[in-house]
């Protein structure tokens, strides 16, 4: 006993040693610890504390500590879970598991976890209809996130080819279930979203076939749901069979029921579009023909109007002419009657005829002499007879103002 030197450790040193031993001997990631949650608490929205109880021996309990950064999802007392993480002895709370990962186990617990998370995300507004984005009608580049080994991949590609062509599909192969599924899907979303605008797909398709709630866990994972929510590129999600639902379905911009349906939702049907184009061209053609017809009708009507007007003018004119002719015809004979009468009168008045009857016309200085007083003796006068004329000299002038017949 004497002089045997036993090392003495302070409490904190002892704890340090114990922690080192624990760390060296228990690999916190090599296995999961399964149990039932009790006394579940979240402090300050950051620190998660609970006890893990053995299902068969409720007195076997271990404390657990986690942060909301590491552990996502919603849990509550009574849920069966598996946790991963190293053990540690903490100054304040003693021995505990520092949980890095936690998953609900068994259909009951999974269902419960699913419902709780769904409720939480719904309240947060992740499923709001108002934030759903429109997909491009004719996408040229599609990002596909699924497993190349799944039937979903084949279904999607087949339906895509049946419906539409000329699309570039950027395919990101991921595990759709199991341990790697969540990180790989998250990486795929990051990758597509980090692409430059010119190489980025216009729409993302996240799809897989049907499966149990456990198989679908990646599509119900909070981080994946948030990745879909946060994607700059609109997302179509098609998981499982018709009646399967996943949280990704709710958060996606468009929810497809199956992988084939996802292809149907992402591209239009070639036949339908051809029909639509034909309908449009036919419509345009009809419209144009109608317009031409309309114009033609207008022109015809205008021409008709002009012709009618011209006809009416013409008719008026011919009516006038006829009228005029009638008048002229009426008037002409009367006129010629009157003309004949006048001519006759005129003929009687002709001086030559008077001369013929034996009268003569006397002129002096170029003027007809009607009054002898206008003449003087010795003036030269001219005498016009019916036949010929003669010159004479006045020998005598008899009386004034009296015409003396010889």
């Amino acid at each position: 006993m004497t002089n045997s030197v036993e090392p003495v450790l302070q409490v904190s040193e002892y704890l340090k040693l114990a922690n080192q031993v624990l760390k060296l001997n228990i690999d916190g990631y090599a296995f999961a610890i399964e149990g039932e949650i009790s006394d579940y608490k979240i402090k300050d929205g950051k620190w998660i504390m609970f006890s893990l109880k053995d299902e068969n021996d409720p007195s076997a309990k271990v404390g657990c500590f986690a942060t909301t950064f590491k552990v996502s999802g919603v849990f509550e007392d009574g849920m069966k879970v598996r946790v991963w993480g190293p053990p540690a002895i903490n100054k304040w709370s003693g021995f505990q598991i520092e949980v890095r990962k936690m998953e609900a186990v068994g259909d009951g617990a999974l269902k419960k976890a699913y419902e709780l998370l769904k409720k939480k995300l719904e309240v947060e507004g992740l499923f709001d209809i108002s934030r759903k984005r429109m997909l491009p009608r004719f996408p040229e580049r599609i990002g596909l996130i699924t497993s190349r080994d799944a039937a979903a991949y084949g279904d999607f590609a087949r339906i895509l080819n049946n419906r539409w062509g000329g699309v570039e599909v950027l395919f990101s192969h991921v595990h759709v279930q199991g341990r790697e599924a969540v990180p790989e899907i998250l990486a795929a979303f990051r990758r597509f979203n980090e692409m430059s605008e010119t190489e980025r797909p216009e729409v993302l398709v996240l799809t897989r076939g049907g499966g149990s709630l456990e198989d679908l866990h990646a599509f119900n994972d909070e981080q994946v749901v948030r990745a879909v929510f946060g994607s700059k590129i609109p997302v179509i999600c098609g998981v499982g069979h018709e009646r399967d639902e996943s949280l990704c379905d709710f958060v996606a911009d468009v929810r497809a029921s199956t992988p084939s349906n996802a292809a149907e939702r992402v591209v239009p049907n070639r036949q339908e579009v051809i029909y639509e184009i034909e309908t449009m061209t036919r419509h345009i053609e009809t419209r144009l023909t109608d317009a031409v017809d309309d114009k033609q009708f207008l022109i015809e009507r205008a021409t008709n109007l002009i012709f009618t007007a011209a006809d009416r003018q013409k008719e008026k004119l011919s009516h006038l002419t006829r009228n005029l002719l009638d008048r002229v015809n009426n008037w002409l004979p009367r006129f010629s009657d009157r003309l004949g009468a006048s001519l006759r009168v005129l003929a009687n008045l002709d001086p030559k005829r008077v001369l013929a009857r034996g009268y003569s016309i006397v002129t002096a200085r170029g003027k007809i002499v009607k009054d002898a007083a206008a003449l003087e003796v010795g003036v030269e006068i001219g005498v016009q007879l019916a036949q010929g004329s003669l010159g004479a000299e006045v020998l005598r002038v008899n009386g004034k103002g009296k015409i003396k017949l010889i």
Partner: protein, 67 residues
């Protein structure tokens, strides 16, 4: 590869829709209508040509090494 040279399908389709709508509104000026009609036929041809492409190219993204 043909993508660069040929007109974008959705642009062509949208323009065709716009032309159809223009005709729908009626009161069409004949000269303008004729020009639009020709453009419409051209667009329809482009669209149909694009529709005859049957193949979709699937390009698998190489895995990037992650952190």
């Amino acid at each position: 590869m043909t993508k660069k040279t040929s007109i974008n399908f959705s642009k062509a389709f949208e323009e065709l829709e716009a032309i159809t709508e223009w005709f729908e509104k009626g009161e069409a000026d004949l000269d303008e209508g004729l020009a639009k009609f020709e453009r419409g036929l051209e667009l329809a041809k482009v669209c149909k040509g694009k529709l005859s492409e049957v193949e979709n190219k699937i390009k698998e993204l190489k895995k990037k090494f992650e952190e």
